[in-house]
């Protein structure tokens, strides 16, 4: 029990952010029309590409060859997620625009 409380105290800020973000995520998209489901999924798909920051951090502090290679791959994969996600979403939304 004490361990759990200690764990909670140690990470309380992050736990706070996590809980608030959960509610925010639900609130922000709860009134989305069905038409936008696909672009929204694709757009949020791009946002979780933020994981690339982690890849950059790992790679930026890698010294041996293996971590360097893995980090290199991780950065490429993360960039694919980010760039691909945003470009595809933009392409979809562009179609909605053009029609006027």
């Amino acid at each position: 029990m004490e361990e759990i409380l200690k764990f909670f105290m140690e990470y309380k800020d992050m736990i706070f952010i996590i809980i608030l973000s959960i509610f925010l995520g639900i609130e922000v998209i709860s009134h989305v029309p069905a038409v936008l489901h696909t672009p929204l999924m694709s757009g949020s798909n791009a946002i979780h590409g933020v994981v690339i920051i982690g890849a950059i951090i790992v790679m930026g502090h890698a010294e041996d060859t293996l971590p360097l290679i893995l980090g290199f791959i991780a950065v490429i994969l993360g960039t694919l997620n980010v760039v691909g996600g945003f470009v595809v979403t933009d392409r979809m939304l562009e179609m909605f625009r053009k029609k006027k």
């Binding site: 936008l36 696909t38 694709s42 595809v88």
Partner: protein, 482 residues
Amino acid sequence: METITKLIEFTSEISILELSYIVASVLFILGLKKLSHPATARAGNLWSAAGMTAAIIFTILFHKKDGEPIGNIVWIVVALAIGSFIGWYASKKVKMTAMPQIVSIFNGMGGACAALISMMEFPKMQAALAIETAPHMLCGEAIAILLGLMIGSVSFAGSMIAFLKLDGRIGDIKNPVLRIINLTFLVVLLVALVLIMFLQPVEGNNWPIYVFACAALLYGVTFVMPIGGADMPVVISLLNSFTGVAAAMGGFLYNNQAMLTGGILVGSSGTILTILMCKAMNRSLVNVIIGAFGVSAAGGSEAADKTVKEISLSDAAVLLSYSQKIYIVPGYGLAVAQAQHLCHELDNLLSSKGVEVKYAIHPVAGRMPGHMNVLLAEADVPYEKLVEMEDANNEMANTDVAIVIGANDVVNPAAEEDPSSPIYGMPIIKVLDARNIIVMKRSMAAGYAAIPNNLFYHPKNRMLFGDAKVTLQKLVAEIKSL
């Protein structure tokens, strides 16, 4: 004196970095908010992209770990360039019909990225703990690493399977035993996760997480394998939220607020989106995951000996030309045949003859919710002509002809009439209310969900067999020659 200025410089860089993360988080939130309204959606996407760019650039410039700045910058930039080029090229080249596939792939890449990060962080953490001679690895760091590894791997493997299924390269394995295996598998994974944390840290002893990663990958495969191809959009949305959580685990690990908010935001909004998608199909998420579709799809098979009526091209042309109001009900078959442009041509031609032409869009027409709107918009069909299901159903009674092109399940009356049908309760486009129905279809084969459709045998309905594109071409020519 020198050290003091260095100290100030050091802290101000960190402050700028943290500030950029706050800006990025706010841009993510505003971006998502804007993405959920048609008028602002495109701007919203750009806002999130701007937030992401800022976070990436400021991380490279200002991130410090124990006072050490980011190294290997050249290699990082090379990797960024390679990734950007491939990502940009692939997204520009992909056909609109293959949209779900590409989203699935990009999602998998994010999951793999999260898993790789964990794979690299675990040995470091273990080495650090070994030096402290800690008795076990029970700490927040280990939880974040292991969960990131597990969720990221599942998301990667699952997305790849979803991609292959959508692309029609692999079929479904519908074996009830698989459900039990999956459930057991999940429990085993979670137990393994806890057990790894109880291990005594020994530097270089990394085999447990390699085994763990392989098992998680395998679970990703068996998790998606039994789910029907028609449910892949829901699965992708679910895996999308998984990847979000995996990214957030990275944020937890690095105490990085941008990753944390971005990841959790996607995790929670992705879950809600998944549920909304299920609702649009009148299914529960559990139902989708367990895969009830197709398993009990025997209902309605007595239709086999009924007869269908065909309509000739010239009859169809006359019928359409002398109608007052027509509803086109497009389905994925239209998209597969790349016939959306011809469809628009038919629409223009008929409109010029004074026929009122509209499109009735089922929320899950196509392969993803909203997919059909994107495809028709690509063919320059005006937005006002795309009518949502409920409004279309209200107008159906004073519609002369409903033309169903390449759609099947979304017009299947079994959803309303047959309680034993697996799609019973799903809202459909009520083409039966229209005075005439023409169904364009390649053959009498069942739809994507493999459910028989009694609409085809209805006395009001007439079939126009053939590839949607070819048939539409002939039909347009026929109407022109009238």
